[in-house]
């Protein structure tokens, strides 16, 4: 038995969720190998080789892998999969897009978005937007599993010295062409890994009003999130969406502002350690998951909040 993990990276650096997936993968089996498919991604392979949990790195390098198209990635993964009992990767948009294509080609019923490894064939996973947890057992010989990264700690990034071996590329796909990626650049912490997240909802009333949230995020070194309603209304871009169909976050502190708390939003944040809700509707469902609820008009509360933060001598970053 051994595990093949598909690394997510940008050809220069490993994406942080790969480290969380490595932790989960090594809980399935200690013999964990990482597949790095990319273009001139030597630095990525070298940094993954230093992760102590990783026993081997397999690097496949070709210009056709500059951008991750599942049509290009799956044939080489299938070729490598022969020697492994488990194929795993993180359950973010990278893994969600890729893994089912691999699983179908291997004739395997995929286990999506696990939050706990119970045994090499049994896993815990949320269903119904996290309103129920299912314990499932895969009976397929080869198992394809995606991992909810925020449910596992990131693996240590130094101390290891796994060997790096090279493997052959496959033919380029003619089905799909990558055109562009519009990444939202920000100096803030990433939403998925930030210690503090402050999110705005429909109650913000406009994109311009998000500056009230931005000011507090600056102060707390927080990432900015949003409810689906706020994204749909065009207040903020889609990469900020927290919830069942957006991102799942588990920060130490989550501040929900003007968010009513539909179950689809709660699915993305209710595992946060401390939850604060600011809403003028005292009956809003968000208060049912909040450790600290403040029933107030956000347009008064947010400037006051900033003022109170300014009074503090120290703020954790």
């Amino acid at each position: 038995m051994s595990v093949l993990l598909i690394a997510e990276h940008n050809n220069k650096e490993v994406k942080p969720f790969t480290l969380n997936a490595i932790t989960a993968g090594s809980q399935i089996d200690q013999d964990l190998h990482v597949l790095v498919i990319g273009n001139k991604a030597d630095e990525v392979s070298k940094s993954i080789a230093q992760v102590p949990n990783v026993k081997k790195v397999i690097q496949i390098d070709h210009e056709i892998y500059e951008n991750y198209l599942p049509e290009n990635f799956s044939p080489v993964i299938i070729k490598q999969a022969e020697n492994y009992s488990h194929i795993v990767c993180s359950a973010n948009t990278f893994g969600k897009n890729l893994m089912p294509r691999v699983a179908a080609l291997l004739d395997t019923s995929q286990v999506s978005d696990i939050i706990k490894v119970i045994s090499p064939d049994s896993f815990l996973r949320p269903i119904y937007a996290g309103n129920a947890f299912a314990t499932v057992k895969s009976t397929d010989k080869k198992k394809c599993v995606t991992i909810r990264p925020t449910s596992f700690d990131p693996a240590a990034t130094s101390g290891g010295s796994a060997e790096i071996i090279k493997a052959e590329a496959s033919d380029a796909t003619t089905l799909t062409k990558f055109i562009k990626r519009e990444e939202v650049k920000s100096d803030r912490p990433e939403l998925g890994t930030a210690r503090v997240v402050i999110s705005g909802g429909r109650g913000m009333q406009s994109g311009d009003n998000f500056k009230l949230i931005t000011a507090i995020a600056d102060k707390l070194n927080a990432a900015i999130g949003a409810s689906r309603a706020a994204v749909d209304a065009g207040y903020i871009t889609n990469d900020h969406q927290v919830g069942q169909t957006g991102k799942v976050v588990v920060p130490d502190l989550y501040i929900a502002v003007g968010i009513s708390g539909a179950i689809q939003h709660l699915a993305g944040m209710k595992e946060s350690k401390v939850i604060v809700a600011i809403n003028k509707d005292g009956e809003a469902p968000i208060f049912s998951v909040a450790d600290y609820g403040l029933e107030a008009d956000l347009f008064e509360a947010l400037p006051q909040f900033l003022e109170e933060l300014n009074k503090l001598n120290t703020i954790q970053k």
């Binding site: 055109i179 990469d239 909040f305």
Partner: protein, 249 residues
Amino acid sequence: MKILVAVKRVIDYNVQIRVKEDGTGVVTDNVKMSTNPPDDNAVEEAVKIKEAGKAKEIVAVTVGEDKAQETVRKALAVGADRGIHVKVEGTIEPLAVSKVLQKIVDKEKPDLVFMGKQAIDDDCNQTGQMLAALLNWPQATFASKIEVKDKSLEVTREVDEGLETIEVNIPAIVTCDLRLNEPRYASLPNIMKAKKKPIEQINASDLGVDTKQRIQQIKVEEPPKRKAGIKVANVEELVQKLKNEAKVI
């Protein structure tokens, strides 16, 4: 051009889910059911493409028990031309659904297959990608914008980093995000008309697809509950609590 749209019947998104006491699943008796929300977006997009004169026929398909037909009927009421109901009892996994859909694609020969990016019941997010693999077609997942070109689609996808644009050759599979469009409501006359549109019934077993479950559900339980929180009187108290009690700022 012909578009096949796959729709799934799920517990309505507004229903508060209750876990069965015996741990075998969630309560579905006397619970409101409806079409999986992003599947509504898939139907809407197909209808818009047809209205723009770029598609001739829309076929709505569902895989499930008898009542799953309701979702096909709803698709017919907003503009699909005819329906297919592949009948299967009990739980069917995405891999088996994609194998069933592969058979339907072989028979119907559509140019495009649309469906929601994820079903809100099992939250698997697999079927579209699996169908694309089985057919060796390109996949455009999590689509928030679709532009129909001559022999291809240009699709904007919602990804963690922001937006990604790809071009996929037709035939292609597209899985739809909730932001792709605003699904319309069916008008009463169209609901009446939809009752006359044909729905073909097929048994999954007649398609020669093995729908046996590969994943055993051992138990379903309630997630751990958060302990009840408190209401604070004002912002000052909130900041003091966060600083001195929760110690998070």
